[in-house]
């Protein structure tokens, strides 16, 4: 049943540092495979310049641009060159607006990071307690209700949830802004700020104007809730299943026989050990969160990586798309590494 732990792990015999180093080195093949996959797939349809500008330039102009960019060379040469460039952090230049891809990544990555942060806050605040409640009332009405709630939040496409929220809170109730990350005034202040991070919440705190801070937060409510509730549904299910699992173990029975209340059993005895698998699976959720972020950003015109990805997709600017996808692959691989490290630090048994 065990899906074959990697061999290296078995030989470790509990040496933490060796485990960490080997786990760290495993990041590289993962990134390498994804970069290769993306590169090969993107090139099967032809070169990026024809895709982006094919209907706007004449055949001669196209050939000239292709030669200038080196896309007429053998694909292997291009591949190794691309690998070398990615390794040094050079992702090329976008075709549609002529910006270095790396700059695009930094500018818009900050916005995506901010959105992911809000979403995680919502997911933890909503998902974890409700999951414990569901486990506590297992197979009773609150549990059934919460599970259906969790499934609905899994089943609803994030963009549809976002559109519904917009409809209710922005159009009908008129209490929250429809889209964007701030009013024009706020955006202007952000641009003028010295040493801006691109994370509006942080920048707004530094400006110190409560009006701007309020504006930034009010723009963040709907996107954060939309993406957060999707993730909360998953957290809820995870916490519920794992807490129920630990509630069935012998030591919980022992505690129960000593007269510990059911509430304390869930809260103290079952919750902590259940955290380890939860943290591991949360590492896998980062991929889902990023996918959701792409859709949420498009829905709310939240100018992050996802929004920009859609724009570049529409423009068939595959150099930019490739850069963004590769960056996201790196983020996923690194997050999984960090999650594994946390799991090891919490639970020595994982080390093997």
């Amino acid at each position: 049943m065990k899906p074959a732990p990697s061999r290296s792990r078995k030989r470790l015999g509990g040496n933490l540092w060796r485990y960490l180093i080997i786990r760290f080195l495993l990041i590289f093949p993962t990134i390498f495979i994804l970069v290769t996959l993306v590169f090969v797939l993107m090139r099967t349809t032809g070169d990026p310049i024809t895709a982006a500008l094919g209907d706007r330039l004449s055949a001669d102009q196209l050939a000239e641009r292709i030669a200038a960019a080196g896309y007429d060379r053998p694909i292997f040469v291009q591949y190794f060159e691309y690998l070398g460039q990615v390794f040094t952090g050079d992702f090329g230049t976008t075709l549609s607006d002529n910006r270095p891809v790396i700059e695009v990544l930094f500018v818009y990555g900050a916005a995506t990071l901010e959105l992911a942060f809000y979403a995680l806050v919502v997911a933890f605040a909503v998902g974890v307690p409700l999951g414990m409640v569901a486990a506590y009332f297992r197979d009773k009405v609150p549990d059934a209700f919460l599970r259906v709630f969790a499934i609905i939040f899994y089943a609803v496409p994030v963009y549809f949830a976002g559109m519904l929220m917009k409809l209710v809170f922005s159009v009908w109730l008129k209490v929250l802004p429809v889209s964007g990350r701030g009013t024009t005034n706020t955006e202007l202040e952000m641009q003028l700020l010295e040493g801006k991070t691109g994370i509006y919440l942080w920048d707004a705190l530094r400006i110190g104007d409560p009006g701007i801070l309020g504006d930034v937060l009010s723009h963040a409510v709907l996107p954060g809730l939309t993406l957060g509730l999707l993730t909360a549904g998953i957290f809820l299910r995870l916490v519920r299943t794992n807490v129920i699992g630990t509630l069935a173990t012998d030591y919980v029975d022992a505690a129960r026989s000593r007269g510990v209340s059911e509430y304390q059993l869930v809260r103290k005895h079952a919750y902590r050990p259940a955290l380890i698998p939860i943290i591991t699976v949360m590492g896998l959720q980062i991929a889902l969160l990023l996918g959701g972020a792409v859709l949420t950003e498009t829905t709310f015109e939240w100018k992050g990586l996802g929004f920009q990805l859609t724009e570049y997709l529409q423009a068939r600017d595959f150099v930019a798309v490739q850069g963004i996808v590769v960056l996201l692959a790196v983020i996923v691989a690194v997050t999984n590494f960090i999650v594994d490290v946390i799991a090891v630090l919490i639970d020595p048994r994982v080390r093997y």
Binding site: P3, P5, T30, M42, I151, L284, L328, A343
Partner: protein
């Protein structure tokens, strides 16, 4: 160890005529379930049946064609509010919303069928070979599948659909592009599950004895291993079906969908409806959105119930839960989560309790 799982995996044993249909995957679980779980399973089955029926009878139910812009009374007009002629109004492009929602079931069903069939065949074959023979091929495949598995499905699907169609799609081109994109995402999931099962079954006594009597590898793989490794497939199937719908709609929403003139697709309709929302036009977005929601909800409810019923700890009787093993031993999808595949959690849990 766990009696329940064995009842579903019985090989060709003594023929028990009566009640044979009760052992069919979903029927069996329906009988097994009680209370709320049965309610969830039935609700899921009803929603799924409605979806399939709507797809089959779409030409009869839908008042207009999916790309119809006018009838004998003239053009429909754009963004018309709901009226007796158009129950859910018309879209920005001037199509009838209700008709496109109904026709959309066909596109969805087509994608599910193609995607799931392709990925089952590819994933099962790879998992079987990889797990049975082991060696370097196994290791390479595991690393590749793990890398793909960790990647956001939607992004991979986008890259795939660029590779397949350059992003522009006709009806079958679009369905195939979406289906193949989704297939690539799903293969690792089937691969992991079947591989893990194969590795486990490979060391069972009956496989060894088959080897001793000189049975060929091919025959062992298909007759002895595959037959016993497939118990988890109905569950992954339901999980993937819902993910297929969401990925298809996601692609459509990001502008990689099927042209509105060649087929009806909910994600594309929602993308077109995005700007309507700001001006308070609700009828173009809510019907297709609800269609996605209900379809995914139906399929997920079925999958969720199957998962719980396959896991004695979650089946809802205290007495059973006390006697059964840990999650990793019994759960089909460890942790019972939709996205957690059998690598992450099972690996951890098992390592803790060898």
């Amino acid at each position: 160890m766990v009696t329940i799982t064995q009842t579903t995996t019985q090989g060709p044993g003594p023929a028990r005529k009566q009640g044979r249909w009760r052992r069919l995957p979903v029927v069996h679980q329906l009988h097994q379930s009680v209370g709320i779980q049965r309610g969830m399973l039935v609700a899921g089955l009803v929603l799924t049946a409605l979806f399939v029926l709507a797809a089959i009878f779409a030409p009869l139910i839908a008042p207009y064609g999916f790309s119809q812009l006018r009838d004998e009374d003239g053009a429909f007009g754009a963004q018309q509010p709901p009226s007796p002629e158009h129950l859910f109004g018309t879209t920005v492009g001037g199509y009838d919303v209700l008709s496109r929602v109904i026709w959309g079931t066909q596109t969805g069903l087509g994608v599910i069928v193609v995607a799931v069939l392709l990925s089952i065949f590819a994933g099962v074959a790879l998992g079987l070979v990889s797990g049975y023979f082991g060696g370097w091929l196994d290791r390479v495949l595991v690393v590749i599948c793990d890398a793909i598995y960790a990647f956001p499905t939607l992004l991979l699907a986008i890259v795939m659909s660029i590779a397949i169609s350059g992003g522009q799609s006709s009806l079958w081109g679009g369905i195939l592009a979406a289906a193949i994109s989704i297939t690539v995402v799903f293969i690792p999931q089937y691969f992991r599950v079947i591989r893990a099962e194969t590795v486990r079954i490979k060391s069972e006594a009956y496989v060894e004895s088959a080897k001793v009597v000189g049975t060929s590898n091919l025959r062992i793989m298909f007759r002895h291993v595959l037959r016993n490794a497939t118990r988890t497939l109905p569950l992954i199937f339901t999980l993937n079906a819902s993910e297929a719908i969401l990925t298809l709609a996601g692609l459509g929403f990001l502008g990689f969908g099927i042209e509105p003139t060649s087929a009806a697709e909910w994600g594309v309709d929602l993308k077109a409806a995005l700007s309507d929302v700001s001006s308070g036009i609700w009828w173009t977005s809510i019907p297709p959105g609800l269609a996605i929601l209900l379809t995914v909800l139906g399929v997920t409810l079925v999958g969720e119930s199957l998962n719980d019923l396959a896991d004695p700890r979650l089946r809802g009787r205290r007495a059973v839960s006390a006697a059964s093993g840990t999650v990793a031993e019994t759960s089909v999808v460890p942790g019972g989560t939709l996205s957690a595949g059998p690598g992450g959690l099972a690996g951890l849990e098992n390592e803790g309790r060898p």
